[in-house]
Symmetry: C2
Subunit: 120 residues, 2 copies
């Protein structure tokens, strides 16, 4: 099924950075996810998907926000999917994208410095 | 003073991705920070500094964990400093590094999906 998590995302760890040092393997896994986030277009796509009504969006909902070609947007969506940050589910004509909240939550937890609620 | 935050870090925003879409400017700022995190050596350095006794570490505390040359470690520390994720404070022979907890906390908040506490 298209909703299956890539291995990299299933393995996402870790205790907060401020609590204990990362191992080499943990750092390699996490860096792949941060690399997927290290692009303005991908961050905007992720935020558009995550904040979209119903928590999902198709390409048809996303392209208007960008002055980019369809293939470029598809490339960035593919990077986000392969990283495990989002899933894609084909229904009829469109692929509907959702974030993996557990992957985002784990990244958030790694970066937290207090162990308490962190709100913007 | 060496503790002054770089502009990119002072401007770090934002509401959680799942709450509202990022603007282009916000996405550019955040992507620069995620790019600094998108490297296993830098993630391990950050975790070693953040979890070190007293919340600070000098290069002398960091090099043993890596099979890397001093200049390579210094390069990665420079990237972390320039991003605003850490500060460096020279005292005597050594520069002592600390994380900027507010920068990590803001990144954590951007990625949170619940608005509640996120713990590993």
């Amino acid at each position: 099924m298209s909703k299956q998590l890539p291995l990299v995302a299933m393995d996402v760890c870790c205790a907060p950075l401020a609590r204990e040092p990362l191992t080499q393997d943990q750092a390699v896994e996490l860096s792949a996810l941060f690399k997927a986030l290290a692009d303005p277009v991908r961050l905007r796509l992720l935020s558009l998907i995550a904040s979209h009504a119903g928590g999902e969006a198709c390409v048809c909902d996303l392209t208007d926000a960008f002055d980019l070609t369809g293939p470029t947007i598809s490339h960035h969506l593919k990077v986000l999917r392969e990283s495990g940050l989002i899933t894609g589910d084909r229904r009829g004509t469109w692929i509907y994208y959702r974030v993996h909240p557990e992957v985002l939550a784990r990244l958030s937890a790694v970066l937290t410095t207090t162990g308490e609620a962190v709100t913007a």
